[in-house]
Symmetry: C2
Subunit: 135 residues, 2 copies
Amino acid sequence: MSKQELVVLDESDDAEACCPGLLTAPLAEGQAVELAKVFKALGDPVRLRLLSMIASRSGGEVCVCDLTPAFELSQPTISHHLKLLRQAGLIDCERRGTWVHYWLVPEMTDRLAGLLTRPAGEPLPERTAPVGAAS
Amino acid sequence: MSKQELVVLDESDDAEACCPGLLTAPLAEGQAVELAKVFKALGDPVRLRLLSMIASRSGGEVCVCDLTPAFELSQPTISHHLKLLRQAGLIDCERRGTWVHYWLVPEMTDRLAGLLTRPAGEPLPERTAPVGAAS
């Protein structure tokens, strides 16, 4: 019983572990340039849908032949969007025979999530607390 | 002692609370269009730096007159970037006399962080575990 409780305490510690982020200090120019490329890759509805289709696939990877039918777009257009996601480090791929297979690079989405996460336990600023107070 | 352990267990539960996200199910077209606008606003180095300067300011808000000197850009250009961040719901503002004051809308960055967070406890897919194995 006491052993089980100890495990829970460790998990709680892990959940609090976080990262210096976008919200805690002014971003340096070089970091901003690098990071903007990743967000720019996410700034398109087709690419967001492709990413969510790849990320949510059980088994972890998707054949491009299973992605194309979901869109009213040509395969070269889909491939171009996939290339931009890959160049941003969000997905990776491997060709097997005729088809290319894609999978999520979770380390990159983890990094973005960390950057956008407020320091643990930080309250909402007073300024935004009374909704409607702002003009 | 047992009371203290109970509190920790509760905190651990809260940390696990999460959101249906980009990574757990294919995104609907309408959601993707809406979300892409926010990521597109983040897809520019000047806007990322502005957001980080606003978000990390202790006290929670910044006068536009304190933001402009950090950039070699005209004030109308800075104001244009701030307008795009505001239209994306990432910041809000209020004019007081000559100057406009800006602050973060943490609900939006919280939402993005949630969307990019993998379901709690999900291991990295086997595919990405052996780094270097992918072509």
